[in-house]
């Protein structure tokens, strides 16, 4: 076995051009696979983050004809102890209203939060570009678009007309920009007490929102939660049910990315296979003479398996390095005007290790047929033919 390894190494060293070519082939394959994989994963992670990063992943809403959740504090407590995947739990009192400004009106959505809790989901603090968060009753913040449309300044009061006909005035303490124009245009974010009072909810809320660490497990977490909650007349929704088209888009993207990766690997596999097969023919003299000298068929075939293995390992290592170089160029040269990469790259060590190991095992697999040819080679053929 060690002799097979030694011979394999010597064969590879003596055919330097061929060895380098095949290593280059494997490296390019691994690099492309790594690059595409990281790109697609980065793209998806960034898409997911943009789409649902600052929104509720799982939402408990009233059901069975109810319009509010009375027992929300218990529900919130139960959610908190139910599943370690769940983070950032926030209750919301929500209702629609109309803002009255300069002889004009516009529909708005009143969102009453415990601001500290909601900030963990919506990042109001980061999005606040002027003023401060609402603290006291009858204070509120509004989005950039709504502020511009209504000409509101910090410390101004806005007038809201509720569906009940009641009119409320809220003091604006700041403006936020959540980078989603529909939110910037319609949300009036206030304290939970203010919203409960305005919408006549007493001490009820209309939603309990939360995020999960594993976003793709949100449906399972939601199901478990629905099963475990002791609070009646509620329903548990999750983002996956509400974003089917996004999910199928992501799925399609993943599948096409896998397809590309598989075909790249197949091409690499065929390359290794053909070069090794040629190498068996080229070395048939040597194999024949080794057999005449008494090398066993198994050891003769191991020579080619070792060649495949060594080519795979070196090719994979170079491929990973080359892949990182490609990614580095991509993140440094394909950038937005502000210098951030167009697609943030997602470096997944597990994926890279897997891709490397896959290349090695493909190389070994590709060497099996040449190894078999070598094992079958009859020394007499070589000796007869001179």
């Amino acid at each position: 076995m060690r002799l097979s390894f030694t011979i394999a190494l010597r064969f590879l060293k003596s055919g330097k051009g061929q060895t380098l070519l095949i290593i280059l082939g494997i490296s390019v394959g691994v690099a492309v696979q790594l690059f595409i994989g990281s790109l697609i994963q980065g793209l998806q992670a960034s898409l997911i983050d943009t789409t649902i990063g600052s929104s509720s992943h799982i939402t408990i809403v009233p059901a069975n004809g109810k319009t509010s959740i009375k027992d929300w504090e218990r529900a919130k407590y139960e959610v908190g102890i139910s599943d370690s995947n769940i983070i950032n739990i926030s209750a919301a009192a929500e209702g629609s209203a109309t803002i009255d400004y300069d002889n004009d009106t516009a529909p708005v959505l009143i969102r009453g939060f415990i601001v500290e809790d909601a900030d963990k989901i919506y990042n109001f603090r980061d999005g606040l570009y002027e003023g401060r968060l609402p603290i006291k009753k009858d204070e509120a913040i509004i989005g950039r678009d709504l502020a511009l449309k209504t000409g509101t300044k910090v410390n101004d009061e806005i007038t809201l007309i509720l569906p009940s006909g009641n009119v409320t005035r809220l003091e604006i303490t700041g403006f936020f920009d959540l980078e989603v124009s529909s939110l910037n245009e319609s949300w009036v974010v206030t304290t939970i007490e203010t919203a409960q009072d305005m919408l006549s909810l007493d001490s009820s809320v209309t939603k309990i929102e939360m995020q999960v660490k594993e976003v793709f497990a949100a449906d399972k977490t939601a199901n478990d939660l629905a099963y475990n909650l002791s609070v009646n007349n509620v329903e548990v929704e999750n983002w996956k049910d509400q974003n089917q088209s996004l999910l199928s888009g992501l799925n399609g993207q993943s599948v096409s990315s896998y397809m590309i990766q598989v075909f790249v690997l197949v091409a690499v596999l065929l390359g290794i296979f053909s070069v090794l097969a040629i190498s068996v023919v080229q070395r048939s003299r040597q194999i024949g003479i080794l057999k005449a000298m008494g090398i066993k068929d198994r050891d003769a075939s191991l020579i080619f398996v070792f060649q495949g293995f060594m080519l795979g390992v070196v090719g994979a290592l170079f491929g990973i390095i080359l892949g990182f170089v490609l990614l580095w160029f991509f993140t440094n040269f394909a950038v937005n005007p502000d210098g951030t990469p167009i697609v943030p790259i997602y470096i997944n060590i597990g994926f890279i290790a897997l891709s490397g190991m896959f290349a090695v095992s493909s190389a070994v697999a590709a060497s099996l047929i040449p190894a078999r040819l070598s094992s079958r080679l009859n020394p007499i053929e070589v000796i007869k033919n001179g």
Partner: protein
């Protein structure tokens, strides 16, 4: 003296559809320590006979005994070991491994048996290289040596495992007459020094005449068996 090689009723037929018989009922044996030659025209079947003795080829019918073991019924791995330990081959085309140096080539049959080369075997390899006059070029790659040097390397290689038998197929076939003489005298001295049995195929009348026994093969049959 006991026979180390024995062929009994050997027939060899090539081909499935069109059958060509190259050996007909060969009965032949060679004594231990003897120095023999096989002569015959090309196509007479002499190489086939040597390959059957060397277990590289199998007879269509008949029995082959090497060093007391019947070989025509052995499995491939046992044959490989038998070849490795009992026999040394010298071919017309030296068949060195071009990726390895002269000394590495000489050590190769030993490494097939046992990867770790002990000191005494290493010294033995040097001694053999010295015997064939290659001490100076022992670290050259096989491709960086002349034809005669390569052939002498192949002789040293055939001896590394101290085999009981050396089978040579036209060992001097593509060498000039002076080198031929050198190679022959090396083979002869090995035969005398190590009591190795030699079976040499040659078309060179002068070489054949210097051996102890000349077997002539003609049309797949033994035509002449001349002992001195």
């Amino acid at each position: 003296m006991a026979d180390i090689i024995e062929l009994k009723n050997i027939n060899k037929i090539y081909g499935d559809k069109i059958k060509t018989q190259v050996l007909f009922d060969i009965n032949l044996s060679f004594a231990e320590h003897s120095f023999n030659s096989i002569i015959g025209e090309s196509g007479s079947g002499k190489s086939t006979m040597l390959n059957i003795i060397g277990t590289l080829d199998k007879p269509t019918s008949g029995e082959v005994y090497i060093d007391g073991f019947r070989t025509d019924t052995l499995d491939k791995d046992s044959l490989a070991r038998l070849r490795n330990e009992t026999m040394g081959f010298i071919f017309q085309f030296h068949y060195l491994l071009p990726e390895f140096t002269a000394k590495e080539n000489v050590l190769m049959p030993y490494k097939i048996k046992n990867f770790n080369v002990p000191k005494e075997v290493d010294l033995w390899a040097d001694e053999l290289l010295d015997l064939v006059g290659l001490t100076k070029v022992k670290n050259n790659l096989a491709t960086d040596m002349s034809g005669g040097q390569q052939q002498r390397t192949a002789i040293a290689r055939a001896l590394i495992n101290k085999p009981k038998i050396i089978l040579a197929d036209e060992p001097t076939g593509n060498l000039d007459s002076e080198t031929t003489e050198t190679v022959y005298s090396i083979l002869r001295s090995i035969n005398q020094k190590y009591k190795t049995t030699f079976v040499i195929i040659t078309h060179d009348q002068r070489i054949a005449e210097k051996t102890d026994r000349i077997v002539e093969v003609k049309d797949g049959r033994i035509n002449l068996d001349l002992r001195k």
